[in-house]
Structures are given as C-alpha cells and as structure tokens.
Subunit: 224 residues, 2 copies
DNA sequence: AATTTAATGTACTAGATAGTTAAATACGTC
DNA sequence: GACGTATTTAACTATCTAGTACATTAAATT
C-alpha cells in the first residue's frame, strides 16, 4: 500500500511541472532541424542530434512530423516561405528601369548572401533531384512573383527604349539567380582553388557591382 | 585422411581460376564509387552498394582505399583530373579575342553540361565546406590553367582595344563558371519552379548563346 | 621447388540510427 | 471534478552500415 507513492516519486524526476506549448515545440524543432539538415544534408543529419539540440525529445519530432523525410519536407517549405517573405521587402517600381534592375540584382545578391542555410538546402534538394520540392505544391506557388517582378521592370525598360527587346523575364531571372546563387553555393570550392580575394568584404562589394553590371550590360541597348 | 580433399573442394566454389588485376580492380572500384557518391552524396552512398556493383568485393575497397573517406577523396581527385584533361581539348589561341572568348564560354558551358557527375561532386564537396578538397594538393594545382587561359585572351583583347581594361581574369573566370555551373547544378529546382523550357535541347542552345553573349557584353568595350 | 609477398574471398561484428512502445502529465469540456 | 484527448517523457528495438578477422590463392623471389 504505502509503496505505491514512493515508486511514483522515484521515477518522476524532473517531470513535475511542465507546460504545454505545441506551437513553440513545433517551431523549435523546425528551427533546429533547418540548421542540421542545412549543415549535414538529408542523410547526413542525425535525428538524435536534432532531438538533443531541441528543447524537447525525439518522440515529439515523430509525433509532429511522422518521420525524417516528413521533417525535411516541412523544413524545406518553411525555408522557402521565409525567404520569399524576405523578398517582399523590396520596393522599387517607380525608379528608372536601369536603376530598378540594378537594385533588384544587388538586393537578390545580398539576400542570397544573407541566407546561406537556404542556399544549402536548395543545393541539397538538387542533389536529391528535386524529389521533395516536387512533392510540395506550396512551394511551387511561391515563385511566380519573382518572374513577375522582372517582367514589370523589363517591359518598362523596353517601352522606354533603354532595354533591347526580344529577351524574356525568365531568362533574365535565370541570369540574376545564377550569379547570386553561385556566389554562395560555390564559395568554398572556388576560394580553395582560386583564392579568397572575391569573398572578403570588399571583394563581395565589388562582386555585387560586377553582378549588376553584368545583368545591365546584357539587357541594355547601349552601355552607360 | 580422405576427408581433407572433399572439404577443400566443397568451399572452393567459383574461386577456382581467378586472375590478379590490381589496376583493373582499382579503376573499376573508382568508376562505380564515382557514380554512387555523385548520386547519393558522401553520407548517402553505401559501401555495400558500391561493393555489390563492383566486379570485386567490399574487402578490396578497404584494401586499396582504407576507408569510406579515403575512397571519396580518390574519387574526387580522379574526377577533377578527368575533367581538366577534357578541358585541354580546347584550342583557340589565334582567333580574334571576341571569338576566342565566345568559344571558351560555350566550350565550358557544354563541358559542364556533359559532366553532371562532376558537377554533383563539386556541389557535394561544397556542402561539406570543401573539407576534402582542402586536403588534396593534387587538385589545387590543376586549376591555375583555367585562369591562365582567360588571361591570355583578355590581355590580347585589351591590347587590341576591343576589351575594356580594368577587369581581372579571375573575375571573368568566375562569371563563366557561374553561368556554366548553375545551369547544371540547379537544373532540377529551377525547372520545377519555373518550367522546363530552358532545359530542352533548343532551350539549352539558346542558353549557351545567352551565356557567351553575357560574358562578351560584360567584357567588350562596344557592343557588336 | 620452396618460400615469401601481394591480392582476393567469406563470414562476421560492434556501434550507430531511424523509428516504437508504453506510460505519465496537462488541459479543455461536460 | 471527472473524463477524454492532446502533449510529453523515458526506455527500448530492429535494422542498417562501416569496418574487420581470418582464410585462401596467385604471383614473385630465391
């Protein structure tokens, strides 16, 4: 009879007073998982490691996200959402087309540079042949905006007579992405093979200018 | 007495007549390992799977390459060597600078496109922060040639008065690499988000032209 | 021919890792 | 305030995986 109480006490330990906080727990898991997947890749990341760094336990990860791939998918979605939200900060519509385009390129360049975790996730996703990106309708709907932004600037530039006609916003967007993405994605290999000059603070400033110059020279009718 | 013979026979199986072929075995292992690492990444690749696809056994992989990382390092080195050998095929020194540069860009664009396994290895290596690239002195010595090739063309163009001065061969090489690399590395994510148009056969032809145009417009004094 | 060395095959193991089982605790609702 | 559901904990397991021990055969050397 009297033993029951003591048994319960013995195993209770620090479980005495915990508060429920589903949303907090979920977002805490996602934040840590983003770091781990981004650092180590899908197969490289360890569920035990993620769990340990979390304020909760491994069981909760499976409770909320089913399995490792489910967690990865949610991390990917969340990363895209966050980055796209960040892009909405840019406001440039009433500038001259050349200025607007320059601003767009330099903003994108900086934005990628500030979000290396996101870049790494996209790299990882490409390693996996876009398998998980393909499964997410959410993400696919977030990206029309990027093309539309270029389209507006380009159309204005053409009708102003400063941009050459015959280009497409898709290809201009591809060019901007290529320069901004590569700058982050291949920073390690490039600096190991060719030196660190381009990736110092001043090197990056110059490279950003080079990027916008490159795009402008590609799009403009005459060189300014 | 008489049992000894039969015992030996029973376990001998297909091991009767095998020939030694160290170099063949080594290169067979490397070729399969390249495919597996390139497809699945360092932590994603499975030693058992590599061994199974090999004409030899797992034991031999460890015999020749010590451990998984040792194998990966050799695969990386071999891939760089092979790709750099492929680049030596290009011969263009006595063309006009604009033509030479255009040829160089389009050659690089195609060369990357033909070697997706190599591109994937470089992506994977960047995910690993260039950890293994850093360890290989072999590779670091292979890359001066790429810059030198650009330098020759650029110097000629400047002294001919067709290229603008003040640029560096390093930055021009960075630009060429960015366009050629991104085209392969981000093909999956880009086509999933923005459609497959750029990656059809005709789309790629146009994109290659866009790449060389981009570089030329960046480098040339006046637009042709 | 005997002996040594290099190359290969087979079977195994220790540890890592994704995922589970079973039970306890908080919270909303009647 | 009793009851059912959502949330959380801790300990456990089956499997996967890198790496090894040990035996064996081909070639080189003497």
């Amino acid at each position: 009879m009297t033993n029951d109480d003591s048994n319960v006490m013995e195993t209770s330990g620090n479980r005495a007073g915990w508060k429920q906080d589903p949303e907090g727990v979920r977002s805490n898991i996602l934040a840590i998982a983003l770091e781990e997947f981004s650092r180590n890749g899908l197969s490289g990341a360890r569920m035990d490691e993620i769990a340990a760094r979390t304020r909760t336990s491994k069981r909760m990860i499976y409770y909320y996200f089913q399995d490792k791939e489910g967690l990865y998918r949610r991390v990917l979605e969340e990363a895209y959402r966050k980055v796209r939200r960040g892009e909405e900060a840019l406001e440039l519509d009433h500038s001259a087309p050349q200025d607007a385009l320059r601003q767009l390129v330099e903003f994108t360049f900086d934005h990628h540079s500030r979000n290396p975790d996101f870049i790494r996730l996209v790299m990882i996703e490409n390693i996996h042949h876009g398998e998980y990106l393909r499964q997410s309708e959410v993400i696919r709907n977030l990206n029309a905006a990027a093309i539309a932004r270029v389209q507006i600037i380009y159309d204005k530039g053409v009708s102003d007579g400063v941009f050459r006609p015959g280009l497409t916003s898709l290809r201009i967007h591809w060019l901007i992405s290529a320069l901004s993405f590569f700058n982050v994605s291949n920073q390690k290999s490039f600096s190991l093979l060719f030196g660190e000059d381009l990736f110092s603070e001043s090197g990056q400033t110059t490279l950003r200018t080079q990027a916008s110059e490159t795009v402008l020279r590609y799009v403009c009718k005459d060189l300014s």
